[in-house]
């Protein structure tokens, strides 16, 4: 009998605490498949954020560090600078990465810190019960924007990949989604490319994954996937915003 489907070795054999229909789990699996395929589990250190994935240290089988809210890129920098032989990745939500940790994110990128950042954009603060995130869409109702996000009052959402793509230290800035099989396959390719970049010492790679939060969006899992397609992708277009391997004459050396 041949094995057609298996749990990746680098994914711990435990129940995940995520809500039904939450796509955090899919993204964990993709990261682990890539870690297994490249064969780096024994040499990898992951950094957890503060957010719904705060306990991801119980899910990834490699060595794991829990960082303070938003500080994962700085913590990852410390690991990588101390031990450049280790593969280092962070796994961060939008509040973590693009609000409280904006400075750490931007500076890790501009230093060309040789790490992988997996960025989970679910347009909300999942863990604290669905408040406005820096990525919350205009008009989106959250606990702290009960009348919908009004750009005149709360400003505009941040497009993280576009912003980081302007920095010379960024090797890869790509936005993917996990709402459909083709998108999931695309997402895995991007994650794999990010880890290969790190292995090949190309610099800072970020993969932004559009993700669902059915619980705080007040939608069923299926409706949540639909919202991702109809509301999020138009505002956050999928694609590669920076790829150091693509020839671009304007790019500084």
């Amino acid at each position: 009998m041949s094995v057609v489907f298996e749990k990746p070795h680098s994914l711990c054999d435990v129940n995940l605490h995520y809500c039904p229909g939450c796509t955090h789990g899919i993204i964990h699996r993709l990261v682990c498949e890539v870690i297994d395929e490249i064969g780096i589990e024994g040499n990898t250190v992951g950094i957890c954020p503060v957010g719904c994935s705060v306990m991801a240290y119980d899910y990834f089988n490699c060595d794991m560090i829990e960082a303070a809210h938003g500080r994962a890129p700085a913590t990852a920098t410390g690991v990588k600078r101390a031990r450049p032989d280790l593969m280092v990745f962070t796994y961060q939500g939008d509040g973590d990465l693009a609000a409280i940790g904006t400075a750490e994110t931007v500076h890790a990128a501009t230093r060309g810190e040789n790490i992988v950042v997996i960025f989970i954009n679910n347009t909300t603060y999942g863990m604290t019960g669905g408040q406005m995130a820096p990525t919350t869409l205009p008009g989106q109702v959250t606990q702290t924007t009960p009348f919908g996000r009004d750009p005149k009052v709360q400003g505009y959402p941040i497009r993280v990949c576009e912003m980081l793509s302007t920095l010379s230290g960024t090797a890869l800035a790509q936005r993917v989604a996990v709402d459909s099989v083709p998108h999931i396959n695309e997402a895995k390719k991007a994650i794999r490319k990010a880890f290969e970049n790190e292995r090949d010492e190309k610099g800072f790679s970020i993969v932004e994954v559009l993700s669902t939060c059915p619980t705080n969006w007040g939608l069923s899992p299926v409706e949540a996937l639909e919202r991702l397609r109809t509301d999020m992708i138009p505002y956050y277009p999928l694609g590669v915003f920076k790829d150091c391997d693509a020839k671009n004459p304007k790019e500084e050396k």
Binding site: E66, A74, T77, V79, A103, E104
Partner: protein, 351 residues
């Protein structure tokens, strides 16, 4: 052994490298800049890392990451920067990670000033961040002690898996004195808890300060405090000077203790039975030692470059059996020996 004439900050930086510090992360601030400048020049040639972070917050979290791999690492700052680091220090303590933090204090609160101060005593010994935790706090009073204490800080931080702080001030950082560097064995104990890759040979290590079960968090704090208990019993250190028959004991730490010492000497010349108690560890506070020093004291005078912070620990240690008064200058003003002598005389030393 070779003697070198060096600035306090530079001597400390050199000693840190010799103690096996392989990573330094910092953000510029006066009056500690010489530490960064020295390490920026020397770290790489020493097989280490120097990195200027985007903020003190980033720097301390870089320290957390480097320490988690089992690497000896350090950050340095001055008062306002230490406030920013306090979040990270709490996480480091909660994660049971060792590291060394230098605070070359300046006057506060707020942006304060850039002249020497000791007004971060409370912060260092009582509340460097949220939660139940302590730091080892060493208070050097000479350039030689900047060297010796930083070496000790690295060893003790590793031994007890906790952050250690050198609480210095602008005066010590800038002053030049001859120093010798001790022979240091680079042999460090293995750190089986480190996140340095499982190599597929062990279970994954997790460095973490999150415990959602109240009982688990309580137990983690209790076991940390058991270590603290042992530290309080074994790691206190103090200088006791002319206290055998002293009726007035002056208590002071760091640079202030040097000024106080000269006041005590003059008092003795004038026939006043004065002595000096100088804690070298601020946490743990040398309770046994101060009681020993004050056995014949009728009055105690706490002299500090602050509005009066260590005086709380002096009173607690003496259980208020002896009256304790205070003299301090703050905001960057350094107390003069004559001012301290004046205070000693006020306490009845003038016959």
């Amino acid at each position: 052994m070779e003697r070198n004439l060096m600035k306090g900050n530079e001597a400390l930086a050199e000693a840190a490298m010799r103690a096996g510090c392989k990573c330094f992360f910092g953000y510029p601030i006066t009056p500690q800049t010489e530490i960064s400048a020295y390490l920026a020049k020397k770290m790489q040639a020493n097989g280490g890392v120097f990195l200027q972070a985007e903020s003190e917050i980033a720097a301390i979290n870089m320290v957390l990451g480097a320490s988690a791999t089992g690497t000896r690492c350090m950050t340095s700052s001055s008062s306002p920067g230490i406030s920013l680091k306090s979040e990270g220090i709490s996480y480091i303590a909660g994660s049971d990670l060792p590291c060394v933090i230098i605070n070359v204090e300046r006057g506060g609160p707020g942006l304060g000033g850039i002249q020497p101060s000791q007004s971060d005593y409370w912060q260092a010994t009582k509340a460097l961040g949220h939660g139940d935790f302590q730091l080892l706090v060493f208070a050097p009073a000479s350039v030689q002690e900047m060297v010796d204490m930083v070496v000790k800080a690295f060893d003790k931080a590793d031994e007890y898996r906790m952050p250690a702080m050198i609480l210095a001030d602008g005066l010590l950082g800038q002053m030049m004195e001859p120093v010798t560097f001790p022979e240091i064995s680079v042999e460090q104990k293995p750190k089986p808890w480190a996140c340095d890759g499982t190599k597929m040979k062990r279970k994954h290590n997790i460095i973490n300060s999150l415990y959602l079960q109240p009982e688990t968090l309580e137990n983690s704090n209790i076991s940390r405090y058991e270590r603290y208990k042992k530290i309080k019993e074994t790691e206190t250190d103090a200088e006791i000077y002319l206290c055998d028959d002293a009726e007035i004991v002056v208590t002071a730490f760091g640079a202030t203790a040097r000024v106080a010492k000269s006041a005590v000497n003059t008092a003795r010349e004038q026939g006043i039975k004065a002595g000096l108690f100088r804690p070298k560890t601020l946490w743990p506070f040398p309770v046994k030692e101060i009681n020993e020093a004050c056995k014949s004291a009728k009055n105690v005078l706490s002299v500090e470059m602050s509005m009066g912070q260590m005086i709380d620990d002096v009173k607690l240690a003496l259980e208020c059996r002896i009256p304790v008064s205070f003299f301090g200058r703050t905001g960057g003003v350094i107390p003069k020996p004559s001012e301290i002598l004046e205070e000693i005389k006020k306490l009845g030393g003038a016959e």
